[in-house]
């Protein structure tokens, strides 16, 4: 337990000292502000292009911006932020392999799982905190400018997206055990995401893939019920637990 706490402290300190924490938290803040700003600007942007469009014969009706536009922007931007997050933290274990910084700690009797778990927990902490910040900011703007009462399943939508991130981070940590370079780790992450995404096109499995959890729009408008997402949530949580457990077990027998 003391090892876990000590390594957890080290991970967070490292995030801070390597500037990743500050950059990431600024990005979460940015998304929080940017999403409602985009929604607010949409009619004005459409005005700008509608002149050109009219010449080609396309008519644009008067688009009404609601709180839904703000949340649409929010979840779109958060997908980008998730990928930036993975890129920024892709080297969390591989850089330690490459520099050999684990050797001394292991020779001091550090248990292998106390390397991997603190890394995962530290990433989760950043992810959780970041999601809450950006959500809070967008929420504040949306409530101020629009009528937020039309939004259904507000908290549940955030939860689904958050869980998708939790799963992707577990893929990152799992891939780090086997891959020795950042690019390989990111490739595995992309592959896992891609497989889940394409499996979503097949009706037989489409209700069970983790990427189903990208369907926040249907939840917010109330087109889909929460229960529709339950199987995918269970699968995602199970996959996450599996990834982390498998990573810990395999890491035990990895030569460093």
């Amino acid at each position: 337990m003391r090892q876990l706490r000590a390594m957890m402290k080290k991970e967070l300190f490292e995030q801070l000292k390597t500037h990743r924490l500050v950059v990431m938290l600024l990005l979460f803040t940015l998304v929080g502000v940017l999403s409602p700003a985009f929604a607010k600007m949409t009619p004005w942007l459409l005005d700008l292009v509608s002149g050109d469009m009219a010449e080609t014969g396309i008519q644009i009706g008067n688009l009404e911006v609601t709180s839904l536009s703000s949340w649409t922007q929010y979840y779109k931007n958060m997908q980008i932020i998730l990928f930036v997050f993975l890129i920024l933290y892709g080297g969390i274990l591989t850089s330690e392999y490459q520099h050999g910084t684990l050797i001394i700690l292991l020779s001091k009797g550090l248990k292998r799982h106390n390397i991997l778990l603190p890394k995962y927990f530290a990433l989760l902490l950043t992810w959780t905190f970041g999601c809450l910040i950006s959500f809070g900011i967008t929420f504040a703007y949306t409530v101020y400018f629009w009528d937020n009462s039309i939004i259904q399943n507000q908290a549940f939508s955030l939860l689904t997206f958050y869980l998708l991130g939790v799963w992707m981070i577990s893929v990152l940590v799992g891939a780090s055990v086997f891959c020795r370079s950042v690019s390989a780790v990111l490739l595995v992450c992309a592959a896992c995401f891609g497989i889940s995404y394409f499996a979503g096109f097949f009706p037989a499995v489409s209700d069970y893939v983790p990427t189903l959890l990208l369907g926040q729009m249907d939840l917010l408008t109330g087109t889909t019920d929460c229960s529709h997402f339950l199987p995918a949530i269970v699968i995602t949580v199970l996959l996450t637990v599996f990834n982390v457990t498998a990573a810990v077990l395999c890491f035990r027998k990895t030569s460093i």
């Binding site: 090892q3 390594m7 001394i104 700690l105 292991l106 020779s107 550090l110 292998r112 027998k253 460093i256």
Partner: protein
Amino acid sequence: MDILSIRELTKSFGSRTVIDHLHLSVPAHSVFGFIGKNGAGKTTTMRMIVGLLKPDHGEIQVNGERVSFGENQTNRYIGYLPDVPEYYGFMTASQYLTLCGEITGMQSSDVRRRILDLLDLVGLTDSKKHIHTYSRGMKQRLGIAQALLNAPKLLICDEPTSALDPVGRKEILDILSSVTEETTVLFSTHVLSDVERICDHVALLHDGSIVVQGTLENLKRKRNGEKIQIEFERRSDAEACLKKYPESLQTDALTLILPKRADITMPSVMADLVSRQVPVQKLEKLEPTLEDLFLEVVEHETAPCHDEKRTL
């Protein structure tokens, strides 16, 4: 009692056998020199002792307990300094040592006191500096501090003096010889003078197995005579000397390397030069290379019995 004993240790990477049936025993409270050329398998052996590599075959015992790969319990007896120690550059020395102390499970009050003592011992008292600004020698000294943190029974140092200048080298050796009261030191090197300066036991590793092992005196006794090199001022003196010792090796017109014989010693050569009033530019005892030592020792071994060779 032996603090470390290795039996039948074998390790290969792919088709290359790096360690081949290695036997080694290190007595407690000795300073044990582990000598071998680069690539002889010193680092591989040490990594297996610390449980970072999985041996293909054989057994390692530290303080009577078997070393197992992966989750290694015997590491609590060991302090390890890798060949190129790498730290978290964003930390200061005391932050890093605190992390190490927490990992080994020391009491936090003990850790603080111990860190101050150790940083004092290795001479890293400017604790505000971040490790990424450290020089090679400072990193090496921090490496010794972290290895000594948990008061280990066995201190393993992998080439602690290589890539250091003579001053840094002497500092490290002084630190190592100052801690022998509390611990056993096992260190690897390819520099013979380091061994002669602080070791009492040695083992010579060649091609993955121990060629010779024993006390330093035993090894020295096996070395017959010493090589002396003279650089004369006058060509005629060199020629005269060559006539006197025809089996000398002439490297250039002015320089001779005298043959190794029982009667050719440094005092006798000096007395001879003085009595004949021969001026010289340089007179030096040649440092034997590892290759020389290896050849000498192996030649010396008539090796009638395999076991005798192992144990001396």
